[in-house]
């Protein structure tokens, strides 16, 4: 069986320590979500709650803000953003990787430049534009700024470059249009890249607080992180137990999704990593 050599013990303990450091805040959150108000503010720091108040805190979290609305908004916004990004980026990356046209170089430069510009730089003009269009407080305002993801284009571009030219040629000879090639040949073979991108996109936008904070003031359209903010500011005051319970609820979908699809995600990331 496995021998526990000194090196192995050292490696394992180092890894465990690392894992512990990264997991600590999350564990603390789980623990706090089960503590009563008095215990959170007591001077002792215990991981296991003295008195289990999970039910109480979760009830508060679920009743004070409309948790289903928050989660639903999160799902809708993330799904819309992801779908639009993929639908825009895939044909674009395909054209840049496999078609010859004169502006290809220029486009590549623009994509690289686009990678360098953060949303914060364009937030103000976008806000003003949306205000003029009266689309603040809508899914449109939450989704539109992210519909073209240069990161997605860049990622898919790297992946598509590795697709053999012969495959595309064979598809053309078989009678497919360029759209047909994208839909029938490129996308079915790009799942690793698409899953990898899905992680980046969904995680980023599920957790994004900045942009919803800019364009949403109506609770109806609040995304989970924004909801938490309302929860803290208006309803719960400094009820950290309930706040942590709410946080737990909104992080749970991502954690669950990752655990369920873990194998495919890891495959996706390592595959693009190797090829790109």
């Amino acid at each position: 069986m496995t021998r526990l050599s000194l090196g192995r013990v050292l490696r394992l303990s180092l890894l465990s320590l690392g894992a512990l450091i990264f997991l600590a805040p999350y564990l603390f959150m789980i623990s706090t979500a089960g503590k009563a108000q008095s215990e959170i503010f007591s001077s002792s720091l215990a991981l296991i709650p003295e008195q289990w108040s999970y039910v109480e805190n979760f009830t508060k979290a679920l009743s004070r803000v409309s948790m289903p609305t928050l989660l639903w908004n999160g799902v809708v916004v993330c799904a819309l953003i992801f779908i639009v990004q993929v639908v825009v980026a895939i044909p674009c990356a395909y054209a840049m990787a496999k078609l010859k046209f004169r502006a290809a170089r220029l486009m590549m430069v623009l994509v690289m430049l686009g990678l360098l510009v953060p949303i914060h730089a364009t937030a103000l003009p976008l806000y003003v534009a949306f205000d003029r269009l009266s689309v603040l407080n809508s899914y449109m305002a939450l989704v539109a700024p992210f519909s073209i993801s240069v990161f997605a284009i860049f990622l898919f571009l790297q992946f598509f470059r590795a697709l053999p030219d012969d495959l595309i040629h064979a598809a053309r000879l078989d009678g497919m249009s360029e759209t047909g090639i994208v839909a029938r040949v490129v996308v079915p073979n790009a799942w690793p890249a698409i899953t990898a991108f899905a992680i980046f996109s969904v995680v980023a936008h599920w957790n994004d607080l900045f942009w919803p904070l800019v364009v949403v003031t109506n609770q109806e359209y609040a995304t989970p992180p924004l909801g938490l903010l309302y929860f803290r500011a208006a309803e719960a005051g400094d009820d950290y137990g309930a706040l942590m319970a709410a946080t737990l609820i909104i992080t749970l979908p991502l954690v669950a999704a990752f655990l369920i699809a873990q194998k495919r995600f890891v495959e996706g990331i390592t595959m693009t990593g190797l090829k790109g």
Partner: protein, 388 residues
């Protein structure tokens, strides 16, 4: 009537001329092998014929129609790629069905889910399935139809690729080194199969290979392309026995043809060893020329009284024959002979030998490489020399 004709096709990449005016005609049901060293532009030519790339100049006529501006899909050209280029996410059966589905079903009928509800498509799909099955049966891959390319061997993939190309009855068939990924045994077997299929389908075929034995054994005519120019297009026997250019002679034949430099004298005759050749289609002048003679027409005998003397350097035993490398005493050039094992037994390394060349099999080339017609007008016998 020629079904496929290419006229002075030119193509350059970034200023490098890759194809320098290639012209070629293929008749109904003809199998043309296109051979040439790596990088000479064979694949580029095929891509241009298929419509996957545009030529800079020249015409491509398929079945009487000039197709230079016709899209690849509408040329009705099928191609088998070196990498096979099967769709990795589809099973063998689905792969073979793709070209049929793309042609016979409308865009709406092909649409996922909704397409399956449209009228008329069920019958077409059934018909496609039947054709796929027939094709698969004739290539003996019917048991593989549910497998994906990743689950098949190289030879099986090659057949699926062949089936996908043949199933739609193209008017021209292009193959780009379809056998180069197979092991030697399978390759010889697959050669026979492709020739057989070609005979049945009788579609003009352009077959790229850099394996000369493949070209010579399979093709009706062999085209030798070197450096972007078609140097010769002729039946296998003719191109081997009567090459029009020294590069053609060098490219075909294993081991390579012996090429030795000598001089033509002012009267237009060339002396080499015991032979005297008269050049016929060139003005007589004192110029250097090249003599070419294939190893199988070089005879070595273990005696020291010949006109051309040499010393055996090395022998290679190949089973049915032996390749003997010798060095000519007079000019220090190497000469290679192909001899029967029985004869080779007498030729040990370091042995002085006399070289004799079959008089009718000597070829004369200009230093630029063009073939010069020549006739052997005299053969000095060894006895004459020995006594004279």
């Amino acid at each position: 009537m020629s079904v496929l004709s290419l006229r002075t096709i030119t193509k350059s990449f970034a200023g490098n001329a890759i194809l320098k005016g290639v012209s070629l005609e293929a008749d109904e049901g003809e199998f043309i092998a296109l051979v040439g060293p790596s990088g000479c532009g064979k694949s580029t030519l095929l891509r241009i014929v298929a419509g996957l790339d545009n030529a800079d100049g020249g015409d491509i006529v398929i079945g009487g129609r000039e197709v230079s501006s016709v899209a690849a899909a509408d040329r009705n050209v099928a191609m088998v790629f070196q990498s096979y280029a099967l769709y990795p996410h589809l099973t063998a059966g689905q792969n073979i069905a793709v070209p049929l589905a793309m042609r016979r079903l409308t865009a709406a009928q092909r649409f996922p889910f909704i397409g399956n509800l449209l009228p008329g498509q069920r019958q077409i799909r059934a018909d496609i399935q039947r054709q796929v099955r027939e094709m698969a049966t004739s290539l003996r891959i019917d048991h593989l139809l549910d497998r994906k390319p990743g689950q098949m061997s190289g030879g099986q993939r090659q057949r699926v690729a062949l089936a996908r190309a043949m199933v739609r009855h193209p008017s021209v068939f292009l193959m780009d080194e379809p056998l180069s990924n197979l092991d030697a045994n399978l390759r010889v077997h697959a050669r026979g199969e492709i020739v057989e299929l070609h005979r049945r389908a009788s579609v003009p075929t352009l077959y790229v290979t850099h394996d000369q034995s493949e070209a010579l054994s399979m093709a009706d005519r062999v085209a030798v392309m070197i450096g972007g120019t078609l140097l010769q297009l002729a039946p296998p026997q003719e191109i081997y026995d009567d090459p029009a250019h020294i590069e053609v002679a060098r490219f075909l034949g294993q081991p390579r043809i012996n090429v030795l430099e000598t001089r033509m004298d002012a009267s237009g005759s060339v002396r080499f060893g015991a032979l005297t050749l008269a050049a016929q289609n060139t003005p007589p002048s004192e110029t250097p020329v090249l003599i070419g003679v294939r190893p199988e027409f070089v005879r070595l005998s273990p005696r020291t009284d010949g006109i051309l003397k040499a010393r055996v350097e090395r022998t290679e035993f190949l089973g049915s024959e032996v390749i003997v490398h010798a060095r000519l005493d007079a000019i220090g050039e190497a000469i290679v002979a192909k001899v029967a094992p029985v004869e080779a037994a007498t030729l040990s390394e370091g042995l002085p030998v006399s070289v004799e060349i079959e008089p009718d099999r000597v070829m004369l080339f200009a230093t630029t490489g063009e073939r010069l017609r020549a006739q052997t007008i005299a053969v000095a016998s060894m006895l004459e020399k020995a006594h004279g």
